[in-house]
Subunit: 363 residues, 2 copies
């Protein structure tokens, strides 16, 4: 029996996608082999990767002047690739610090240039997106960096900083395809697949044409975006099966009515939990209301022992991976695209029952 | 119906492994979710990755003073990681050039230090391992590099260069686990999984303790072996499903009797083809006899049109991916661990029939 999996990532996938992958695992269509066994340069596999890209472009309305890459190494490798490819002019970049992941990106960029942290909410355990003044932006910066959705703290940028001609580089790992975005406002979007797109092991990079080809000769070949643009993500053997899984997930998104339809469902799902949290006497959300994520909902009872009791009892009823990130404690419900609304209802009902049993103990 | 897949990589996997993966795809054991959906830090997943490492260590007799890492980016990223981590003393390295892949490693290392090519068989289209004199080895080199099995040309090092105290770094992508090796003779072994170990998207790195921790602060965090050693391959989200597939393949290798038993079978398989080639009036092998690979068998008729006829006719009977690499032409049968001897017999029988029909046309 399948559980409701609230893991922050790797995370729940649509059961229809898993069932299709299962049917095709030993023999794909009439090819006589598994997708895992296909040469990446075979006709059968080229069709898969081309369809994956075409579907992603269509679902996200990616303009023609952007390249789509399927790479490896996750967001962590992008933390190095972005500065190695873009810090070639003033060698300065602006960052907004909204948590562990932006901090890691900052630390990495400092190896290669000068980093200006415009604003940080670290002093408040990153429970909100920090306010910032456009006047503090450096118009000479080679790029401006944000982590758009902060998985650990359940915050997101509801409006993008207006960076003018400075390219905006954004980590969308935990919110890509959760709501409609305007790709043309970004210079680079990257996302590890393992939250909304598919299994771990493939990174989607969407990069504007003019940002490719700036890296120095001394940058490792595999870390130069140009290498992958010139070779259609096939300079080396790509993670073929993970890309196939992306294609299946993109087909599922289409079947759901596209990103706009998912956005509507995601808002319904998030509202169910936030509305409950806002009136609960036992639980409270930890992220600032105005910056709440659609994807990750951290909450606490205010009593660590009661938090642990909750997580244990929830697990026993098939609501799993609700423990908060080790850096903040408490609970976190990650409700990515593939989490059905039934799972969210089951969680809220369980929280109501728990509150009835334990009352406002933790308040 | 499954075909016999002679692809050079990604390549055939044991059908028993694929069938087990298929059974477990939607729900793994009693965990209530797919392996693809598991948090990499969950107990269920930690058991999988730990078992994968333990089985690899046992099967390859890896000494305790070596770390095992599961990374991303394939051999191509190792071409940069090896020099970035090791070129810290004399900043010089020795290479033997045995083909496209060692040439790429040479090109990459030149970005970071001084490269000395000891020997090359390029003038002979890499049809043999070049001879070399130990006197030409640089005793001050930071490392010595070889590509042990050359997928495109069907050659392999039958004996390792004696590099003394200079660490030997070897790309074993297309021969790892095909025969017994003495890991203690190497400084670093790396291998993309997609030939003998599993699906594309995970790279196995086996590195001697003392070679870790030498990289400069300016090396990208993800390209420093120390990062991954300190975090048990979990600095970032690893390619979780690909590592699970490795575990299944390692279990299959155990069920076959281990690496020594596979080596025996691989020799039988290779002998079947080479013995036929050596007496054929239509086909001939292109690699020097003394350097023949156990894994990749390139051959030609001597007539390009006949080669194409052969590949087409073979494909029609379910013997697929026999076309040689685009850089050398002709045919190539890759007969990795998972290729059953029945597949090799079917190929040889087909070649006999083809020869009976077309005679010695190509000679």
């Amino acid at each position: 029996m399948r559980v409701y999996n609230f893991s922050a990532g790797p995370a729940v996938l649509p059961v229809e996608v898993l069932e299709k992958a299962q049917r095709e695992l030993v023999c794909f269509e009439d090819v006589g082999m598994s997708v895992m066994e296909m040469s990446h340069r075979s006709k059968a596999y080229m069709k898969i990767i081309e369809e994956a890209e075409a579907k992603l472009r269509s679902l996200m309305h990616i303009p023609d002047n952007y390249h789509v890459l399927f790479l490896q190494g996750g967001a962590s490798l992008q933390f190095a690739m972005a500065p190695l490819n873009l810090l070639v002019g003033s060698k300065k970049a602006d960052f907004i610090d909204t948590g562990v992941w932006s901090s890691k990106a900052i630390k990495e960029a400092k190896k290669f240039g000068s980093v200006n942290v415009i604003a940080s909410s670290k002093a408040d355990t990153y429970s909100h997106i920090p306010s910032y003044s456009k006047e503090s932006f450096d118009p000479e910066a080679d790029y401006f960096y944000i982590c758009q959705n902060n998985t650990i703290y359940g915050t997101k940028f509801t409006t993008l900083p207006d960076t003018g001609n400075v390219p905006l580089v954004a980590d969308l790992s935990s919110c890509i395809m959760s709501e409609e975005i305007d790709v043309s406002k970004y210079g680079i979007i990257f996302a590890g697949a393992q939250k909304n797109l598919g299994p771990a092991g493939v990174t989607v990079v969407i990069i504007r044409n003019d940002l490719v080809g700036k890296a120095s000769e001394r940058v490792p070949t595999m870390l130069n975006y140009q290498t992958h643009v010139e070779n259609g993500s096939m300079f080396n053997t790509p993670p073929t099966y993970a890309i196939y899984m992306l294609k299946l997930v993109f087909e599922w998104v289409e079947s759901q009515g596209g990103v706009a339809a998912l956005e509507k469902k995601n808002k319904e799902k998030a509202d169910l939990i936030y509305d409950f949290l806002d009136q609960s006497k036992c639980f409270k959300g930890t992220a600032a209301k105005e910056d709440r994520s659609l994807m990750n909902v951290p909450f606490v009872t205010g009593d660590e022992a009661l938090d642990a009791t909750f997580v244990k009892a929830a697990t026993a009823t098939g609501l799993v991976n609700l423990k908060g990130h080790r850096s903040v404690g408490g609970m976190r419900a990650s409700i990515y695209n593939a989490m059905p609304i039934e799972g969210v209802r089951a969680l809220v009902n369980f929280m109501k029952d728990f509150e009835a049993q334990y009352g406002g103990v933790g308040q």
